[in-house]
């Protein structure tokens, strides 16, 4: 009996599968394992990950590594994916002219207009002039309230801006009701004597006047020209609970369009598109350019730098190639997104959702140095290692082991770096394609749109369903149902959105409502996978007609996701395609297709 291992090196995971072949050709699968890919796919550092995965798999059948007779590596598709993100607009405040932020507890309600006056100068105030008073945190809430109460009979104080988080405390002690905005960090930058408008919305609603250019014009008495220039202010105040807008004669807010630059496609036809045009236009241009040889960006622009960065990061793979050091990008997937960016020159650290574009690029090289990996593996394990079989063919073979499939069979391999599609015809011919953009792009979109600090959190949000811990004994799940607990939930999770990973709960540290996370997560997955699935299947389908594919098997890491297969099923149902998550060998789920295919191909 011989022990054979199939090894599949992917962009993010390395999968192995072990089987035994008897003398009479009798064949049996024994175990499998998967590990993180070490280093960039197709480079020598991969060997570490392969060894670890092999050890784990052999451990399960209680055999030493040396018991292996043969290791079969896949001829990995020579594509490597990478992602990058760049904002294409930027809001800059010249002279402080607005504060629009969401202190958790503003006080009062309504809007007010008045001349700005610092609390220390309140004795200078003239009767009859409407004022908005600004108080620094050196005054305690009792002092602020006492001083104002003393002056309120003769002065017309309409609103209050506080530096400390004390709006409710001051309001409870004031003799007159007025809107109060607090937590304005840089209060010293507020220009005294200027006209300001302040608005606080009732709980559960957002401001209406200051998030509307005409509202600002009404309150501050602006002409048509000035109203036009406050539009970015209004835009950035949408959805806030409180805001202050200050009229400064020369100050303004600009929405800078950054020199985002053009993407140049070198294909059957030369085509270029400005990145401002948005993702749809970029993808359209890409399609019109035909088969792509390389993609470039305009020099010294954001997109130019972005694509160069991707190419540079691929340089280490290129170095291992002989005679081919040129890195070429052969496909990109552009996705429109929004990124919260802190506004330059802001008073309270407010952020503005800026337009951004996320790009996944795929680098195609002539040939990955798989042979070298095989040699190194052979040296280290003292087991014969060979490179056998093209990835897509192997994946198709593996996918065939899913119960209920027949030829012609299409597979959609959704991994971390790229989305690959292949169609296996009954005559054994295979047509394949590789598309940029997969799980990693989704993680990046989630991270930027939610403004998360760590990529790990974004990946966890992508992977697990959520719930909100509403009390120590119950939790509301993302589908609206309630889950109760006998024992109290750890108080550390109280009030948090938690991710329900198997066996544990993971906290989301950022203060983002569950509904928002849900929306961003689903949107990101749809933007990347639905678009890519259709794009890829169209290329491999006979006559580029999706209806000619009877069934699609989803494999790869992203097919394990709890909602992506359902999303694709919905879309592909329109084309009468049977589509579902693969179940390799009836036990593995969508994983291990390539490794399984490698073993099957050994049998011939």
């Amino acid at each position: 009996m011989k022990l054979i291992a199939g090894v599949d090196i992917g962009n993010s995971t390395t999968e192995v599968c072990i089987g035994a072949v008897g003398e009479n050709g009798y064949f049996r699968f024994l175990s499998s394992a998967s590990r993180m890919t070490t280093g960039t796919k197709g480079t020598l550092p991969n060997v570490l990950g392969i060894k670890a995965a092999l050890e784990e798999a052999m451990d399960r059948i209680h055999q030493p590594l040396s018991a292996l007779d043969l290791v079969r590596l896949n001829e990995a598709a020579p594509v490597i994916g990478d992602t990058a993100m760049e904002t294409i607009t930027e809001t800059i405040i010249t002279e402080s002219s607005m504060i629009g932020h969401n202190p958790s507890t503003p006080a009062g309600a309504g809007e007010a207009v008045g001349e700005l006056l610092f609390l220390e100068n309140i004795w200078k105030g003239k009767p009859g002039v409407p004022y908005i008073v600004a108080a620094a945190s050196k005054f305690s809430y009792e002092e602020v309230a006492a001083r104002l109460n003393q002056h309120i009979p003769e002065l017309d104080v309409r609103g209050l801006i506080l530096q400390a988080d004390e709006a409710v405390l001051v309001e409870n002690r004031l003799s007159k009701k007025m809107p109060i905005v607090d937590e304005v960090r840089h209060i010293s930058r507020v220009p005294e004597g200027k006209l300001a408008a302040i608005e606080v919305a009732l709980p559960g609603t957002s401001i209406r006047m200051l998030s509307n250019p005409y509202g600002i014009a009404t309150l501050l008495g602006l002409n048509a020209e000035e109203t036009k220039s406050v539009t970015p202010i209004a835009k950035s105040l949408v959805g806030k609970r409180s805001a202050v807008v200050i009229r400064t004669p020369h100050g303004n807010i600009r929405e800078n369009i950054l020199p985002a630059g053009e993407i140049v496609f070198h294909g059957e036809k030369e085509a270029n598109v400005n990145i401002d045009a948005g993702a749809d236009k970029i993808m359209e241009t890409l399609a019109s350019a035909g088969e792509i040889r390389d993609i470039d960006g305009e020099r010294d622009t954001n997109v130019g730098n972005m694509l160069r960065r991707i190419k540079t990061s691929m340089a280490d793979v290129a170095k291992e190639h002989e005679g081919d050091s040129e890195i070429r990008i052969t496909d990109i997937l552009a996705v429109d997104t929004l990124a919260p960016v802190e506004i330059a020159g802001s008073l309270a650290g407010e952020t503005c959702m800026e337009k951004a574009v996320g790009i996944a690029a795929m680098v195609k090289t002539q040939h990955l140095p798989m042979q070298k990996i095989a040699e190194r593996l052979e040296q280290e394990l003292h087991v014969k290692a060979v490179v056998a079989g093209v990835e897509a063919v192997m994946a198709s073979l593996g996918a065939m082991t899913t119960p209920g499939t027949k030829l012609p069979l299409a597979i959609l391999d959704m991994g971390g770096g790229s989305t690959d599609a292949a169609v296996l015809q009954p005559d054994g011919s295979v047509k394949t394609t590789h598309q940029a953009g997969a799980g990693e792009l989704v993680s990046m979109l989630i991270q930027t749109e939610l403004g998360l600090h760590s990529r790990t959190t974004a990946e966890q949000i992508k992977k697990y369903p959520m719930g909100k811990v509403e009390s120590l004994f119950h939790m509301r799940l993302e589908n609206g149902s309630m889950q109760f607990f006998e024992e109290s939930i750890d108080p550390r999770y109280y009030g948090h959105v938690v991710l329900l990973a198997p066996g544990e709960m993971l906290k989301v540290e950022e203060d983002i409502p569950m509904e928002k996370i849900l929306e961003v997560r689903r949107d990101a997955k749809r933007k990347v996978f639905v678009r890519n699935a259709l794009r890829a299947l169209e290329i491999v389908a006979p006559d580029h007609d999706l209806r000619k594919i009877p069934n699609v098997v989803l494999v790869g890491g992203s097919a394990e996701d709890f909602e992506i297969p359902e999303m694709l099923m919905e879309v592909l149902a329109d084309y009468r395609i049977v589509c579902g998550r693969g179940n390799i060998r009836g036990v593995e789920g969508p994983r291990n297709a390539v490794a399984t295919g490698l073993l099957l191909s050994y049998l011939g």
């Binding site: 405390l169 009390s471 009030g495």
Partner: protein, 225 residues
């Protein structure tokens, strides 16, 4: 430097010696058993809570009950770090008020263990959230259905706390009432604090424990008159 039992014993001994040499009033230290206390001078005269009003069970769902120690604002007026207790209480209450919730102060006379003080305050609270503050400044936020030792938040290093922290404690307690996400309060941590303040903490705790009056339970507290 390692903080172990011997070291603490040595420090205790040195402090007690110095106190006695300096002509301080004879004190009992934590090392002597309860029997030997009989007949000896108390650290502070027992305060009478005759006529005090027993605190009622709250019904307001916006309420946070603050349970203060038996010696709070009476025998002890400053925390172990020297912050006036009036200010501590004022800031905790301000933190609660800023979040739109209501505070109520009671004095806990049944126990001087801060975990139990907080739990009892929580059980009295209409919202089920309570804060326990020992006179030396140690603070716990508790919820009525939790076990005494699994509280919501504990602030054990009283000597390192400042008024800003107490304000935030009030704010966090109010956020628990509202079911909002609570951001943990940053605290400074100093491993030497225990060695430096062990004796003072023990003495303050004894002063507090001496004033217990379990028959009275929890009483309405509006500061020392």
């Amino acid at each position: 430097m390692e903080v172990n039992e011997q070291l603490i014993k040595a420090i205790t001994k040195a402090v007690v010696e110095q106190l006695q040499r300096g002509g301080a009033q004879p004190t009992t230290t934590s090392s002597s058993g309860p029997q030997s206390l009989a007949g000896k001078t108390r650290m502070r005269p027992k305060r009478s809570y005759e006529g005090a009003v027993r605190a009622k069970q709250g019904t307001d769902p916006k309420e946070v009950v603050i349970g203060v120690g038996a010696a709070f604002q009476t025998e002890i007026t400053k925390t172990i770090g020297g912050i006036p207790l009036d200010e501590v209480l004022r800031n905790v209450k301000a933190g609660i008020e800023e979040e739109g919730m209501v505070s109520r102060v009671v004095k806990v006379l049944d126990t001087s263990d801060v975990g139990f003080m907080a739990l009892q305050a929580a059980k009295l609270s209409g919202s089920g959230i309570g804060i326990g503050i020992q006179s030396k400044g140690t603070t716990v936020i508790h919820q009525k259905d939790l076990y005494p030792l699994t509280n919501l938040e504990l602030f054990p290093q009283a000597p390192l706390m400042d008024l800003e922290t107490y304000r935030k404690i009030g704010r966090n307690a109010a956020k628990y009432v509202k079911g909002e996400k609570v951001t943990p309060i940053e605290c400074t941590n100093d491993p030497m604090v225990r060695a430096k303040f062990q004796v003072k903490a023990a003495l303050m705790h004894i002063i507090e424990t001496e004033q217990l009056d379990p028959d009275k339970g929890m009483i309405v507290w509006e500061g020392a008159k």
